[in-house]
Point group: C2
Chain length 351, copies 2
């Protein structure tokens, strides 16, 4: 597979889509990216498994990280790509091979950027977080990820989305006492008690704090419930799984404390928590970026890898040409004009 | 296997327990019962699979049915039987081989009863109702089950328990709309909506109607709940399974209507309903029985096969020497003195 980094960015996106790279199978595409970047004398390459970092080393006063994952969710009969009415269809077209194509174009065209740039291409973003290539890079070679500001080219529809919210999962259990359902008063119904847990959820008022100038929107929801022993038995246990999405002015620990306190009447186990990321839009590099690409930045509500940059102390935003609502759909597609616009705005900023 | 119907009733119960007869495997025990009853010239036998009816035909003005199932739940290392401190231990000792032993003793000893008697021994009571031997008999040979009054020798601790409550199961579904849990307000949480269903259950006040002189006690409980799509998805469906135990002054249809109306805001499917049975204690044969065995009759709350007699138009009560709270336990046991007392009271009534 040969990638021509000097072809049109839409054409390059199509070639990337055609190179199927479902999580775990990024090898051939990564090899092709490495080979193409290896032709560019202004970049220094580092490879770690199926992740690549390509850096300029011009001694600029600031360094920007441009990152994107090369893997996709499983295909759904939507490879190879096709073009209709100015839209490029295919698995990964929006999430996020159009963003990766923009990264590759910038890497090829901007030989003398105003800031130093680290281009990061990584694997396994669409699967369990312990397999994430950016996490692996941050552990194996943290020096490859240093920078003053990071842009993740995840789909945002060409709007700057700052930071991201954290996410926490907890299991809340009610306890009862079994009895035959013909003599229910001999026991205690744990499913009925779950009603009081649902009362807390129904009465929840989401915080919508402003963080670094962007308004976030929290959420607290039951995403699962289960209880019951047998059709004639008063149940002695009911478990409600809740998902708390919290704004980045609250740490993972603070989010856990909040949930433990909110459900203090019951047994609560926090099973999973990942902190969010502050928008970082007050950083000079971020401000010049926002001024260059235009539009009004908004808060990113879903959790993304910007949180990993945040945990490395690097402010980060999401900005990419894909449409986030089309990610992971069979009908996934991206606007060729938006991809080109994204490329030209970033070119103008970096040159 | 030989059964000596002239041995002591406790001894006979022990032999019945030793003859393992888990539902579906009642053949050898039924053969032994048939052989033993076949020795009694005052009885006329009818066999249907592993069910036997043995009738006196003395032209009495009234006929009483004495019924019991010969099967047990699966054994739990509690066969053969053993005796300690006046208690007979073993699978089926309480539910209900002690009752069957009393039936067999009466069959052998009461050659000239004051009423005609139909002794019914049947299979598969402890499993799905469509396999029930009494149901099969009622369809194949309804003439074998005619009578003015029926006694089911199920465990009641030697107290007359009249009638039984009906039981209904229904699934109540709430509907929502899926969305990513990071943007919960784009969807609608069906699990949160289940809170209102649980509110109805938490606010439910059980009826305790008096029926034919006995006080029943209804119950309405969630026995199961399930909902949830994935840990990051707002769920679009939650299903609550409820079990309604209703007094016998309400028919199965009335019970269904009550539930459909109570949960009219939601989708409700009645998945299973079995009507109860009125106590029938106003019948002369029932009154003479109660006078003979003494004690204060109480309402039977769990569903039993008395409901099948009720549907055949025969008033029926439960009365047996076993302890209902020990039924289906590994530690199942029955009091030898209570078994003997039950036998002697019924002998006194029938002679």
């Amino acid at each position: 597979m040969d990638l021509d980094l000097f072809s049109d960015v839409g054409e390059l996106t199509a070639r990337l889509v055609d190179a199927e790279s479902v999580s775990g199978n990024e090898g051939p595409l990564t090899d092709a990216i490495e080979a193409a970047l290896g032709q560019l004398p202004h970049l220094k390459l580092h490879r770690d498994g199926n992740a690549i970092v390509a850096r300029t080393e011009l001694g600029r006063s600031q360094r920007v990280v441009l990152a994107g994952h090369v893997d996709t969710v499983p295909t759904a009969g939507n490879v190879p790509s096709s073009v209709r009415d100015g839209l490029l269809y295919g698995c990964g077209s929006t999430d996020m091979k159009s963003g990766v194509a923009v990264q590759l174009k910038l890497a090829a065209l901007v030989t003398e950027p105003v800031v130093d740039i680290s281009y990061v291409f990584y694997d396994c973003e669409e699967v369990e977080s312990h397999r994430n290539g950016l996490l692996r890079l941050s552990r194996n070679s943290p020096d490859q990820l240093t920078g003053d500001f990071a842009i993740l080219l995840e789909p945002t529809g060409g709007v700057v989305e700052g930071g991201c919210q954290g996410t926490l999962r907890a299991e809340i259990s009610t306890k009862g006492e079994r009895a035959h359902s013909a003599r229910a008063w001999m026991g205690h119904n744990a499913i009925h008690d779950a009603g009081a847990v649902l009362d807390v959820l129904r009465g929840y008022e989401p915080r919508q704090p402003e963080v670094d100038g962007l308004v976030f929107h929290e959420g607290l929801n039951a995403v699962g419930i289960s209880g019951g022993v047998a059709a004639n038995v008063i149940p002695d246990r009911c478990v409600i799984t809740v998902n708390y999405r919290f704004a980045p002015d609250r740490s993972a620990d603070e989010a856990s404390e909040y949930i433990l306190d909110l459900f203090r009447e019951w047994e609560v186990e926090v099973t999973d928590v990942a902190g969010g990321a502050r928008p970082g839009l007050r950083h000079p590099a971020a401000q010049s970026f926002v001024a260059a690409v235009g539009g009004t930045p908004r808060a990113k509500l879903g959790w993304t890898d910007v949180a990993r940059f945040d945990s490395l102390g690097i402010p980060a935003v999401n900005f990419g040409p894909g449409d986030p609502l089309l990610a992971h759909t069979k009908d996934e597609h991206a606007s060729l004009s938006l991809i080109a616009e994204c490329e030209s705005k970033m070119l103008a900023w970096l040159r």
